[in-house]
């Protein structure tokens, strides 16, 4: 009972934090809310996982939880990887744009300097 209370409170807190602090699309928010609610229900009625597991052909409820978690983590990982790649492309565009916009050295600068030096610096062209 103690575990259920503690885990339940943590889960509820995490859900609130997610929905309030993390800005995301409505669909994502609904999905997250559903996920947390499902977690709460499973906490309160542990036998439910075993029933569900039997229904889909897996022996124990704990196994079902493990499988679902694995799939979930994999999908999350891929989603984050793709997002990371997209951000990397955008970052490249910005950094490249800045580099092209303002060269730190142009060839003319050296030629001008050389011309100035070879003219003796006396001011005569």
């Amino acid at each position: 009972m103690i575990f259920q209370v503690l885990a339940g409170l943590t889960l509820a807190g995490a859900m609130l934090w997610f929905l309030v602090v993390v800005r995301s699309r409505t669909l994502v928010r609904l999905f997250i809310a559903a996920l947390f609610l499902a977690g709460l229900v499973l906490l309160l009625v542990p036998e439910l996982t075993t029933t569900l597991a039997r229904r889909v052909g897996i022996g124990r409820g704990a196994d079902l939880i493990t499988y679902v978690s694995l799939i979930f983590f994999f999908v999350t990982g891929v989603a984050f990887y793709l997002r990371f790649k997209r951000i990397e492309v955008q970052l490249t565009e910005i950094v490249r744009g800045l580099a092209l916009l303002a060269p730190v050295q142009r060839p003319e600068a050296a030629r001008d300097e050389r011309a100035r030096l070879s003219s003796g610096g006396a001011g005569s062209p």
């Binding site: 891929v78 990887y81 793709l82 790649k85 990397e88 492309v89 970052l91 490249t92 950094v95 490249r96 800045l98 580099a99 092209l100 060269p103 730190v104 050295q105 142009r106 060839p107 003319e108 050296a110 030629r111 300097e113 050389r114």
Partner: protein, 252 residues
């Protein structure tokens, strides 16, 4: 540094080329040099390039932590600087885009660590000038590589096999050679999106997809203790394999 005559690597090429034609082509050639922490050698590399008759050099400093950019002060070349380190592929692409905007006709990519011979540039561009090919690729195995050890040769052979099997399908003898030359108008079709080292294989994948005419020419490569230390370790090969596989699985 320069102790071998240019004709040593390809005597037939050098003899067949009228020199004044090559010089004219060089005037429209931009050499792109990606550089990351090359302060000790970059000035010599660019100086040698300019001495060899190249008019336009653009160095892309990929956010070096050493004074690579300032080492070039006073040399008539363009220096671009990435504010964040993005990798060699990204640096090359930045330099290529700059050169295209400046009206380049021919583009040459050239390593910043001094392993390439500036005298190869004219020969590569001359091959483009004949109009028979759009892309010229350097090969260490057609030419002579000074000081290459057995382990590196084996690693490069493995890289060759891997690239042939997975991405390129091109008939090449050397797939990770930084010396390449191509016409400016085909640059967009060869644009690199792989920021890090997988860009060498990406270039070949794009080359194959583009169906451009290509040719390998021997180039001499100087393996000094400096360039060896700067070059990729065998572990880098694993990274390249990973990048390419992930890319093929997820993004294509």
């Amino acid at each position: 540094m320069a102790d071998t005559p240019p004709s040593a690597s390809a005597p037939t090429e050098a003899a067949a080329r009228p020199p004044e034609r090559a010089t004219r082509a060089l005037a429209d050639t931009w050499v792109v040099v990606p550089a990351y922490n090359e302060a000790g050698v970059i000035r010599g590399v660019v100086h040698e390039l300019l001495e060899s008759g190249v008019r336009h050099v653009v160095v892309v400093d990929d956010c070096s932590s050493d004074p690579t950019a300032t080492a070039l002060r006073g040399l008539p070349c363009t220096v671009l600087r990435h504010r964040i380190n993005l990798g060699q592929g990204a640096a090359l692409q930045t330099g290529i885009e700059h050169a295209v905007r400046e009206g380049a006709r021919y583009l040459v990519t050239f390593d910043g660590d001094g392993q390439h011979d500036p005298r190869d540039v004219a020969r590569f561009v001359a091959a483009l000038e004949t109009g028979d090919v759009d892309v010229v690729l350097g090969s260490r195995f057609l030419g002579r590589a000074e000081g290459m050890d057995r382990q590196r040769a084996l690693l490069l052979r493995a890289a060759l096999l891997f690239t042939r099997l997975t991405v390129s399908g091109l008939r090449l003898t050397d797939v990770h050679n930084g010396l390449r030359a191509f016409r400016a108008e085909v640059a967009p079709r060869l644009a690199l999106t792989q920021n890090r080292m997988a860009h060498a294989s990406e270039f070949l994948a794009r080359l194959r997809a583009s169906r451009l005419r290509y040719r390998e020419l021997p180039n001499s490569v100087r393996y000094t203790s400096y360039s060896k230390a700067k070059g990729q370790s065998a572990l880098g090969a694993i990274d390249i394999v990973y990048e390419l596989l992930v890319r093929r699985l997820l993004l294509r």
